[in-house]
């Protein structure tokens, strides 16, 4: 069947083409189209019946002349050839080289859709990764095998934050990073892609990076393939070659928009804001490929970048993502406008795996309590700040004034840091105690009395 070209297209519209009279085509099979100009396009069978086969064409169906369109059914799903040689290479969204070098030749070709991991095969991620960024390490820490997205917005420095994490991420006690990086960009601008390339080059890790790029002016439907191809590479590196893999993907919003585009063409029932009901499951197929597996050395840690449309965290894309990922690092405009870098808005940020990866046997005994105390004190401080805006700072009580000062110092000194500043988790914790010492000890009930005695440098009460 692979070698037969059919010329039986009966209709084509908006990226979909219907083929008549091709019996026995496998669902999900890959398709190759040759148009009247001899140009090749690729597609996927999304509905198969003997009398009509519906094919989704990645490059779109513009200018197709049905009479002069030849279609081959390749009888297999989209596959990515994998070998050790993928490290240091740059591919397009469908896994073909875009660095001018020869294609990867390998007998080992993997279905980019992957297969769901058996929940009984998973190992729980527990190893603390030090990113050197206080807002993350101190309050929303990352563990090896976690999926922790960055929720951001247009004009915010999410790329710089992601690049800083890639540069600095290492296990506690490690001199240098053990990670290899899989970088996938879909719908990204050329400038964004170049920024990452240069950043990898500067830190001298290019030979430990695999890139999959589908840029803003490239075929939209290929975006549906890009994260899958990238994760297939990541799974190979992690679970066949024992690497610890850091996957950075940007921008999940572009991915979801591409999915919506296709769903509309297919006539799928929309759920919210025009996105199909299966957006959740589709995103989960991607995000859940992060993790650890029992009896395997490698791991996949995932940092997807997602720009929230109109900075709205309740928009379906960040919302569904937050329901799947193991927390989120939220960047905010308010802090960015005050020149705080990285502008991490800590209250809506969360790391769900932090509870199992910090503290006594992992970082330092006081870590979970300090984090909880920072959250509580900062939340209270923001309330005071709101009050001060109404009644004026002069009207505040002494106690409240301390909270106001705490909030300012916390934002400038703890959250704010240099783009090249790589703080150890101990520096981060000590800094946290410096700030908590601005508040009286008896206002700090989330830390223990022993911890107060050991670390608190301020007054006990006022």
């Amino acid at each position: 069947m692979k070698n037969i070209e059919f010329r039986t297209a009966t209709s084509a519209q908006g990226g979909l083409i219907v083929m008549g009279g091709v019996p026995g085509v496998a669902a999900g099979s890959r398709v190759q189209l040759r148009d009247h100009a001899g140009r090749l396009r690729s597609g996927l069978v999304i509905r198969a019946a003997d009398d009509a086969v519906l094919v989704e064409v990645f490059e779109g169906t513009d200018e197709l002349d049905l009479e002069r369109t030849w279609v081959r059914f390749l009888d297999e799903p989209f596959k990515l050839p994998v070998s050790r040689d993928i490290l240091g290479r740059i591919f397009n969204g469908a896994g073909l080289p875009r660095d001018g070098r020869p294609p990867i030749i390998s007998a080992d070709r993997r279905d980019v859709n992957g297969e769901p991991l058996n929940p009984a095969a998973r190992a729980y991620p527990r190893e603390f990764i030090q990113t050197g960024i206080s807002a993350i390490d101190g309050m929303n820490s990352l563990t090896r095998g976690q999926k922790l997205p960055i929720f951001s917005g247009g004009g915010l420095p999410h790329n710089r934050v992601a690049a800083q994490i890639v540069r600095q991420a290492k296990l506690l006690g490690e001199e240098a990073s053990e990670f290899v990086v899989v970088f996938a960009a879909f719908g990204a601008s050329h400038a964004d892609a170049r920024f990452f390339e240069e950043s990898f080059e500067e830190s001298g890790v290019l030979n430990k990076v695999v890139m999959f790029l589908n840029l803003a002016d490239e075929p939209v439907i290929e975006r549906l393939l890009t994260p899958r191809a990238a994760l297939t590479a990541a799974e190979y590196l992690a679970f066949d070659l024992d690497y610890h893999v850091l996957v950075v993907m940007t921008d999940m919003t572009a991915y979801a928009e591409a999915l919506r585009e296709v769903a509309v063409l297919r006539g799928d029932v929309p759920a919210r804001k025009g996105y199909p009901g299966y957006l959740y499951s589709d995103l989960a197929e991607i995000y859940e490929r992060a993790g650890r597996i029992k009896n395997r050395r490698g791991s996949i840690t995932m940092i997807p970048v997602l720009s929230m449309p109109s900075d709205d965290i309740t928009h379906p894309i960040p919302d569904l993502t937050g329901y799947i990922t193991e927390g989120q690092i939220v960047l905010g405009r308010e802090l960015a406008n005050q020149n705080v870098y990285p502008p991490v808005t800590v209250l809506p940020s969360l790391s769900r795996l932090m509870k199992d990866g910090v503290g006594k046997n992992f970082t330092r005994e006081d870590h979970p309590h300090v984090a909880s105390q920072l959250f509580a004190s900062y939340a209270k401080a923001l309330e005071v700040r709101g009050l001060a805006a109404i009644i004026g700072a002069e009207e505040l009580s002494d106690a409240d004034r301390r909270y106001l000062e705490f909030a300012n110092a916390f934002e400038r000194k703890f959250i704010g840091q240099g783009e090249d500043e790589d703080r150890s988790v101990y520096e981060t914790l000590n800094l946290a105690w410096d700030l908590l010492s601005m508040l009286p000890g008896d206002a700090l009930i989330r830390v223990s009395e022993e911890e107060l005695a050991k670390y608190h440098k301020g007054v006990a009460s006022i």
């Binding site: 496998a26 769901p116 058996n118 759920a271 009901g277 309740t314 109404i390 009207e395």
Partner: protein, 593 residues
Amino acid sequence: MGKILEINGPLVKLELPETVLGEQVRVGRLGLVGEVIGRDGNTALAQLYEDTAGLRPGEEAHGLGWPLSVELGPGLLGAIFDGVQRPLQAVWEQSGDRMARGVAVPSLPRDKRWRFVPEPSRRAGAMLSGGDILGTVQETESILHRIMVPPLLHGELLELAPEGDYTIEEAIGRMRLVEGKNSGQIEKLQLFHRWPVRTPRPFRQRDHAVAPLITGQRILDTFYPLLKGGKAAIPGPFGAGKTMLQQQIARWCNAEIVIYVGCGERGNELTDVLEFMPELKDPHTGRPLMERTLLVANTSNMPVVAREASVYVGITLAEYFRDQGLDVVMVADSTSRWAEALREVAGRLGQMPVEEGYPAYLGSRLAAFYERAGRVETLSGGHGSVTLIGAVSPPGGDFSEPVTSHTKEIIQTFWALSKELADARHYPSVDWLESFSGYIGSAAKWWAENVDPNWEAARAEALDLLAASEELQRIVNLVGVEALSSEQRWTLEAAGLIKEGLLQQSAIDEIDSFASPEKQYALLAAMLEIFHQGMKLVKLGAPARRLIQMPLMTQARRWKSQHTSEDIAALKVKIAAIPSDFEKMMLEYEQTA
């Protein structure tokens, strides 16, 4: 024998003339399993539990002759199943890390032998009916598995096997049926039987729920109690703490069996449960928690159709243990994913969407599902219960969306989680104003008899304080705390004490994680005692500012994590000493007054 006509996502159109709705089908060379959801003449529409990639029109298909059913018998406890009851541990051992398609591994182990002890009173010749106990298997140290006559059977016991070791397929008895179309037929009795998951298992009658489910979580047990056999929902935006709260309940509640259904959620959360359950001890029996727990898992990356089935698999397993006279708790995380799976299938069937894409029958499906909870008199005359606790994941945290609003009308206990509380890391983030419980009357009776007669009044007073403080906080946010009278300030402070010293409870603090009813009440009484003492002083003219600075106010906030539930004697000593903390000031102000 039929064949595939068309493949469209998880839906497959078949030529299969003899089939009926709900019948299980096996399709294609891969042998994928699914169920018939529509019929039209000679064609049938089936939804498959596994990914359909690679199927071709023309491949064969056949009906299996039964609806989606589960195997019920020894071997369930401690296991993890997928959404159609495939044993994931065994599947992993057989086919590796990834979920291979078309694997057929029986749900219950076939080669394992169980020690069966026949019921001494059973004699050949006795007339038996469904639900009657034939004997027992000590499945785990803490759980005695009752082997019952399968429901709907009625007849004469011809033979019952002596005590011995049997596999689940070996005969442990024979029965001659006397009723129905199979009358006269001889039925082999085994340690297990099958039951279709979409049909509720029968019982004699519904019973009143009487005892609260003790979860060890103060905001739940003390403020918004749930009864054994009750229905509860936990709605909340992502990150609010739904999963942690359900895990806490699964850990600490005083049920005999816990069924944890991970429906369309994270794989690592199930791994987490699988890793901690064997380590932890049941506070009520001292045995490893895994011995009373079983998991059903269809994670978000597993096929959607099996997700829809998973909650029915879970509830059927729960009913089976209920029928043995046990108190069962089932937590489902999350019912929204199940509803979304329903929506997806409805969309593919071209059914008319009514709200946010959901089909018109969403509400009735939800109600019918929750209806399977309850305390019942079992077929054998015992009492058992299924308590059902569903997490709800509203898009954007909006409680007016269809799944949350329908659920809210069905359940009796509503634990509403708040994003503001979660953001400030006040856990459990159960909102004390939005939540409700329709079981206060029954719960009050139990607390009065078992813990303290004053429970109901104390609970009400604490809730009033919290409501009053909400009002006061609004004023403070407008004009500052100085605008409040001393009485108002003290009220605000006491509410803060209740929030931090009582409601807030850390799941990751070893001591605080579980609080016995006695400890819960002691803390509640303590916080109110402080409030009363202080109020007396304020009324005598003491400024609230002075009271707020008392060291007691900080100390009392720490009590919850200083005393375990076994060690409340020491806590009670501290509580008895509360008046002495106020004594000096009391003298001072009594004199001036």
